[in-house]
């Protein structure tokens, strides 16, 4: 067999623009839907209904939020759904003066991890705090979810607009 090396052919954008090279264009329809799964699906369904739900582990008797189908401590299948309060306690928080795409902010965003009432200690979700002065935020502060109107809720974590300080009696 004789050796043969074909001359390399470089294609530049003008070769396409001027029709010097034959080609087909192809626009694949790359729309997708990502299934949230049973546990998070039920969680999002609860959010749409205006409530927070968790899952109960029968072995270590923990109530977990966000819900999951398996307990990560004992690998036991979680048992049933538990309705939780929409109130909780700030475990940690941050005053954030940049947005996710690094735009500077005058007024800070206040992301926080909130331990949800009715769930086991340390079980919480991350959300924004609002209706509060940044200086007034503290760890251990009691907060409550501010829900969007039912018509605006889509089954997303943003169905809660933010958490606001809970007025103490």
């Amino acid at each position: 067999m004789k050796e043969f090396v074909y001359d390399s052919v470089y294609l530049r954008s003008r070769d396409f623009e001027q029709g010097l090279a034959l080609f087909e264009t192809w626009d694949p329809n790359a729309r997708y839907a990502w299934d949230a799964g049973v546990a998070i699906g039920g969680y999002l369904k609860g959010l749409k209904a205006g409530k927070l739900v968790g899952r109960f582990c029968p072995q270590c008797a923990r109530v977990m939020i966000p819900p999951r189908m398996f307990c990560e401590h004992c690998f036991c299948a979680t048992d049933y759904w538990v309705d939780l309060q929409d109130t909780g306690t700030v475990i940690t928080y941050s005053l954030c003066y940049v947005t996710w795409d690094m735009a500077r902010l005058e007024e800070p965003l206040i992301p926080a991890v909130i331990e949800i009432d009715g769930a086991s200690p340390g079980m919480g979700i991350m959300h924004m705090l609002g209706d509060v002065e940044p200086d007034a935020v503290e760890i251990g502060m009691r907060v409550q979810a501010v829900w969007k109107p039912a018509a605006e809720r889509t089954g997303a974590i943003t169905d809660i607009a933010h958490f606001k300080p809970l007025d103490r009696p």
Partner: protein, 160 residues
């Protein structure tokens, strides 16, 4: 509770929807470019010949698929052939119904070891059969773009 849940209602499923903008360009390549240019300019088919394996490739290849020899012998082959197999297509690529069903066939070209998948025109589904003699019908030259669709369709050769 079982671990497997059967989804019985679509609204029970929460799914995040998204879109990935992608666009592809697929070039004909060196041999394909020459094949389509011959169709566009001259309305004829060319192929490459492997003399070692005695194979004529249409559409042409740059390398023999059997012995990997580089192929630089080009031949013109007739634009006639016979129906190797055929089907009637009712749906388009998106699954929508076509206004009219279309006949499609794999046409084994005379003088070549390959062939082309293409439309069959000027024929009714009941007329077509395996082994039927057909010829390529090209579009007018000014409409030709160097594409496989420069061939309008294959039509039966009237045996008179």
């Amino acid at each position: 509770m079982s671990l497997l849940h059967r989804i019985e209602h679509l609204h029970d499923v929460f799914a995040w929807e998204g879109d990935m903008p992608t666009q592809g360009r697929y070039t004909a390549g060196i041999a394909g470019e020459r094949f389509f240019r011959e169709i566009q300019e001259h309305g004829r088919f060319v192929g490459t010949v492997c003399t070692l394996c005695d194979i004529t490739y249409v559409p042409p290849r740059l390398y023999c698929e059997r012995c990997f020899e580089h192929l630089d012998e080009w031949v013109e082959v007739p634009t006639t052939g016979r129906v190797y197999t055929f089907t009637t297509v009712h749906l388009d690529l998106d699954g929508n119904h076509l206004p009219e069903p279309r006949l499609m066939a794999f046409v084994q070209l005379d003088g070549a070891d390959g062939g082309l998948v293409h439309y069959v025109g000027e024929a009714q589904p009941e007329d077509i059969c395996i082994g039927m003699r057909v010829e390529a019908v090209f579009k007018d030259k000014e409409e030709r773009k160097g594409s496989i669709l420069d061939i309008a369709y294959f039509r039966p050769i009237s045996t008179g």
